[in-house]
Symmetry: C2
Subunit: 366 residues, 2 copies
Amino acid sequence: MEIFPKARLAEDKKIELESKLMLGPVDIAYKTYGQLNKDKSNAILICHALTGDQFVASTNPITNEPGWWTEIVGKNKIIDPDKHYIICSNVLGGCMGTSGPTQLDNTGKELGMQFPVITIGDMVSVQERLINYLGIDKLLCIIGGSMGGMQVLEWLRKFPYRMNAVASISTSYKNSAQNIAFHEVGRQAIISDPFWNNGNYYNMQNKPVNGLSVARMLAHITYLSPKKMQIKFGRMLQDIDSLTYEFKNDFRVQNYLHYQGDKFTNRFDANSYLFLTKAMDYFDMEYNSGGDLPVAFRRGDAKIYLASFTSDWLFPVSDILELEKVMKSVKRDVTCKVFKSDNGHDAFLLFEPEFQNSLNNFISNI
Amino acid sequence: MEIFPKARLAEDKKIELESKLMLGPVDIAYKTYGQLNKDKSNAILICHALTGDQFVASTNPITNEPGWWTEIVGKNKIIDPDKHYIICSNVLGGCMGTSGPTQLDNTGKELGMQFPVITIGDMVSVQERLINYLGIDKLLCIIGGSMGGMQVLEWLRKFPYRMNAVASISTSYKNSAQNIAFHEVGRQAIISDPFWNNGNYYNMQNKPVNGLSVARMLAHITYLSPKKMQIKFGRMLQDIDSLTYEFKNDFRVQNYLHYQGDKFTNRFDANSYLFLTKAMDYFDMEYNSGGDLPVAFRRGDAKIYLASFTSDWLFPVSDILELEKVMKSVKRDVTCKVFKSDNGHDAFLLFEPEFQNSLNNFISNI
């Protein structure tokens, strides 16, 4: 049963990946909200983060989870289906319908690790084909946070004339050494799981759920600020009055991580996690621009909005300020905002009224 | 072959653990440097960190690694065998000769997970027996960093009259939610490894090296500051000129983590890692003092030295400042120093001249 709207792209003209491999045909699973207006000028593309999907503002029919950005997207919200034609597609390498390791080969077998290593730029190349397929020449805005924000930056580099504005939030122009390190630990947890079986687990009874769960537990720590963790969990015990002196999850924070890890394995593919974290690690716009970062932003005249949150330690404020400086050096129209928050990297997904007011101003005035 | 000096303690009078279980006999493996003077007033006890051992200033005969604190301890160093009688023992629950999960039961089989859950306070109770065994009434100083610093604080609480001075460095009076979370991920990596086998792997061909390696890789990230990682590794490639677009360790930081992870599995016991991280997670002097932290430090008149480093995000500066405040509230003679450093949590082990001068002043003036 095919429950996603899907476009089959690049059947005729394959997509050249940054690795120089040619990819196609490519399935891209996407979701739209609202109507494209007559002059096709109200389309907003939303780019999702590492473990997001196309269901930005509505229930994911597979997981029954609510949309992941309902703070921003929805009726009477900043991005509003009554005003905008909202497009969100599952990224290349993802596991919610777009081509990735779960895609079937000619024999009906999942590609697994035969899928090619892809980059953030490749994700964007596929999105551009989708925009063509939908008959849109110029997007009103492209917006995303975290890995989504990386995609927004790549749009500016690769297709600088295809949008009127962009908003890139809680991200960086390159993945840091510490972020690569955390990803490596997560990947290692997955590939050390014997049930990962070199990526050939799709038809096996046992899947690498332990490894994937450990990877997710670790990632979750990096999404919260230490202060938020201390406030939310501190050293609170879980359903006990005193320490057990046994190897149990005495502390609520342990329980929380296990819950998050387990839940994740029901909705995410372990190989996909490998490919997407690898794509993030490869992300370096300086490298992509031959060592000259300003080159990446020299073309185009889209208005640019950047935002970061003080307690985000995965993509710290200093990264976005550096980006602002580079963009200003090539005379871009850039608005850069830093918001005080304890919500850590997850802040862009949560209730942050100052950020939301600011973003609303930006989107309204494009 | 017994290569460690070992004391067999608590054969007659067992040690009551904080869990109320009685433990004994207990082997404690220790190393001394220098000579105890006539009035037994020059003894300094050094408490090691999570993965340290008794070989503080000399080669570990098992691993052939040099002493772990040669910056501070050695001839003409701050703690000097020509002046001091230096004692360092492997902690309870450790794997370098002191009782722990690798200890043999009556049938000659390793205890594994049959070893009881122990606490930082229990480690200190065992150290106190060693000090008695060595015939020392009052230590000149007790010093340690990280988990070693926790032990120092527990000495103040449990045996406040047994020392003239203490130095507790790069630590906290309680383990934070974030630290518990990181430990939980590390433990989960170990127990998810099928070769862990509920802790019964000692006589198996395969040991839980993958899980232990993942745990160590993760821990290593937390020991370095993000800035240090960026300076040391950044996005430097490992022995390649350009990205491979394969699942290889393209980046030097990946290679570094794998090296650290692999090396660790040759010298450390997976069960021991579980017990010691659990002990750290249980560490909360407020809880130990019935919710009234100042009570922990009300007795005794030892001079207290506290130190922290600005880029330590595992035990941030704010923790040590809070501790200073509490100690001052009960009129303790406390010197608290904060040092600017990019070396992160590992700073106390590395070349930090300002810290070393300051510590030297403190030790010289006891």
